[in-house]
Amino acid sequence: MKDYLYEDVSLKSWLLTTDHKRIGILFLLTITFFFIIGGVAATLMRMELATAPGDLVSADVYNRLFTLHGTVMVWLFLIPSIPATLGNFLLPLMIGAKDLAFPRLNLLSWYVFLFGGLLTLWSIIIGGVDTGWTFYTPYSTTYTNSHVIMMAAGIFIVGFSSIFSGLNFIVTVHSLRAPEMTWTRLPLFVWTLYATSLIMVLATPILSVTLVLIAAERLFGVGIFDPALGGDPLLFQHLFWFYSHPAVYIMILPGMGVISEILPCFARRPIFGYKFIAGSSLAIAVFGFLVWGHHMFAAGQSLYAGLVFSFLSFLVAVPSGIKVFSWTATLYKGSIRFDTPMLYALGFMGLFTIGGLTGLFLATLAVDVHLTDTFFVVAHFHFIMVGGMLMAYLGGLHFWWPKMTGKLYPETLGRISAVLIFLGFNGTFLPQFILGYLGMPRRYYAYPEQFEFLNVISSAGAVLLALGYALPLAYFTWSLIKGRPAGADPWNAAGLEWKVSSPPPHHNFETIPVVEQPYRYPRPGHE
């Protein structure tokens, strides 16, 4: 019986596939492409910032670069990253289903994503946008002459892809679980995908509406956000962050799920605190909707709104803390192996912990007033988004690559890449915390001389980081051709996805799989 990759190798069979695994691969290729584009923009920015004066590019080009970097990385890479690739590929396998509930909707999700992504890219090619990914009004609606509408249209369309995937995942988890796959046996990765999907379905429409309002003001002069037209610019910020703060959890929750899969496998013991970890994912999804105002402590929001949002922002940190403590406890009495996915997972724990804790500085009202809109914020969210999510994504890719492709990658190079990325990341972003406290505002293309030293360190770190990313790109590609066959279960892992061959057959399971308790490590009968 042929696996999903070789069942039919024609281009048409790929472009019209409804197989969740193939769609996962299509997403993987697409977001890798966008990641490279966003990465090139970041590289140019770090090159510009290596010296204090603005010399490499012009101010307008720099402003377009950070807009491009933010927009592409947030909407075309981070938001779809784990859910659309690993989630798509693994969700049905993990719950013992043959596919997602709506396979054709799943394919549509990819086409919609591709179309919206290309439209966004087009807005960049024809001249770019210089508003920042946040599109703050009235700059974006009245003052800039860049291609805001085109980019907003692209993101508007990409939003539907999120909504489709979210719906699909929710319905699949509810209706297609194998017999015996009870809610308390669901892999924690599935729990996080479920929580993520809830946010995608509930929050994305707000973004869509907001983008439509921007277009209405820009095209027809309807006064919504621009005070000159009778609008209110803070209204935009409320609407934008009402989506974009939960969106941060869209980006990080699936990463937390991946870590919850990797840690028990390489610690060879069951996860500690299953119910608390699962519950904390839902708590994050719910609380995540109530903290958007912490982006506006110095923006003109009332004093009392600030107090409430600060309080709620501290509460949303608690479930993240629960996860970190539970992961730590999962190492207790384990039999720990240090394979590549584990190194990535440990790197995630370190960077995510720093990212989360520095978030508390920003939740603290008086401190946020000083730090907001400085490099401290830049460092904080990169620790979460890149240190957290991207580490988790790469950890997950290394963990499930043998399952997805049937091939093993060179383990030594894998470990080197994990270490390189960890070091390069810290080199890039740790200095930015100090820069922020010293008062270097973000989105500055030229900056005072006194900040140069730390910026040079940051740019040097970025070189290491870029090398670290290039490595997996190279050896993953290499492994497709020359990699040794992986076998069904190279890690000796629990979970239904390891019970089928690698790569899995077209319909995943020939017979309905037998479900056991999650994370049954050490594997009975093997060790």
């Binding site: 101010a59 402003n63 210089d130 508003t131 009235p138 700059y139 005070p227 610019p233 610690a267 060879r268 013991r269 996860i271 500690f272 605190g273 402590f297 110095a298 923006a299 004093l303 600030g306 107090l307 600060s310 309080f311 501290f314 940190a317 608690v318 803390g321 629960i322 970190v324 406890a329 190492l331 207790y332 009495k333 384990g334 039999s335 192996r337 240090f338 440990l346 724990m349 370190g350 912990t353 720093i354 508390l360 500085f361 939740a363 603290t364 008086a366 401190v367 007033v369 000083h370 010293l438 008062g439 505002p441 973000r442 989105r443 500055y444 293309y445 030229a446 900040f451 030293f453 730390l454």
Partner: protein
């Protein structure tokens, strides 16, 4: 402490700066201890329980309710501590003392225009007297900017269409950074300047070098725009149906459309630009709009003049 000749900590130029740094240190201590705890535990477990080590691995716990509840509780308590520290300092940072001295700031792409009570104006430089409570009343002519004073540990966004404020109390003589921290277009990173803290005596003599005060400029404008043809008495009678301006500032007026509003700077500004939106009860919506006919600076002058007619010299309309 310095690194590469660069200090790791900005100077404290404001009486409130030490307080903010204190809160940051409290948060830093709590977070540092948490991070250290996790790091030590992780490293210890990784070494002790590495594959192949000879240690007891019997019955690894899959949960431990008292432990889990205790770290939930612990996290909530620590959060509350940080919240309270931050909130207290924020209150002090945001609420300007009523006796503060007012300086006006108008932001525009890409410069800061500063106006002192004496009428003296400057661009991208803000002279302030040492040891004085100063409230900056700010507005933008175009997009959102943010008035950021790192050495004073404070900033606030400067919005178009609405006044926002910030207050400082300089405690150190010298020159300090002023920067725009809300992205505002091409030259965002060049929209900067400096705060010059001088002694009160120097400030007085510096300020005195001004032809007209804002109130005087406002009065001239008031007459030039013929505001007086409606808003004044003639032989004890209101000339044409418009509210009298004497004593109106800081009062609460009923509105024609129902409800009431406090007459503060924002209300005056709106009433000049869009007079028909909130008409005082008992009057007809007959005043023409001055939208596009007055700059933000002229609006500030007019408001200063109207305030002076109620004996008010600072923007305390909203606070009384």
């Amino acid at each position: 402490m310095k690194i590469g000749g660069v200090p790791l900590f900005p100077q404290q130029a404001d009486t409130g700066a030490a307080g903010v740094d204190m809160v940051a240190l409290v948060v830093c201590a709590i977070c540092g201890l948490l991070a250290l705890g996790v790091l030590v535990a992780v490293v210890y477990f990784l070494i002790r329980y590495r594959a192949g080590s000879d240690v007891n691995r019997d019955n690894p716990p899959e949960g431990h309710l008292p432990l889990e509840l205790s770290w939930v509780g612990g996290a909530v308590v620590l959060s509350l501590v940080m919240f309270i520290f931050g909130a207290r300092a924020y209150y002090d940072l945001r609420v300007a003392p009523t006796d503060s001295f007012e300086i006006e700031v108008v932001g525009r792409q890409w410069m800061w225009k500063i106006r002192h009570p004496s009428g003296r104006r400057e661009i991208n430089t803000l002279h302030v007297p040492l040891g004085t409570k100063i409230k900056l009343k700010m507005i933008s002519r175009d997009v959102i900017h943010s008035f950021y004073l790192p050495e004073f540990r404070t900033k606030h966004d400067v919005l178009p269409g609405r006044y926002t404020d910030l207050w400082i109390e300089p405690k150190k003589l010298g020159r300090f950074t002023l920067a725009c921290s809300e992205y505002c277009g091409t030259d965002h990173s060049r929209m900067k300047g400096e705060v010059v803290v001088v002694t009160p005596e120097e400030y007085e003599s510096w300020q005195a070098l001004s032809p007209l005060t804002s109130v005087q400029r406002g009065e001239r404008l008031y007459l030039k725009m013929a505001c007086d043809s409606c808003h004044e008495y003639q032989d004890g009678q209101v000339v044409s149906g418009a509210p009298l301006l004497d004593g109106i500032y800081g009062s609460t007026v009923g509105l024609e459309a129902g409800g009431s509003t406090k007459v503060d700077d924002d209300y005056l500004r709106r009433s000049i630009l869009r007079p028909k939106a909130q008409v005082v009860a008992g009057f007809q919506p007959i005043m023409p709009t001055y939208e596009g006919r007055l700059s933000e600076e002229e609006l500030l002058d007019l408001i200063a003049y109207i305030r002076s007619r109620s004996g008010s010299t600072v923007d305390d309309g909203g606070k009384k």
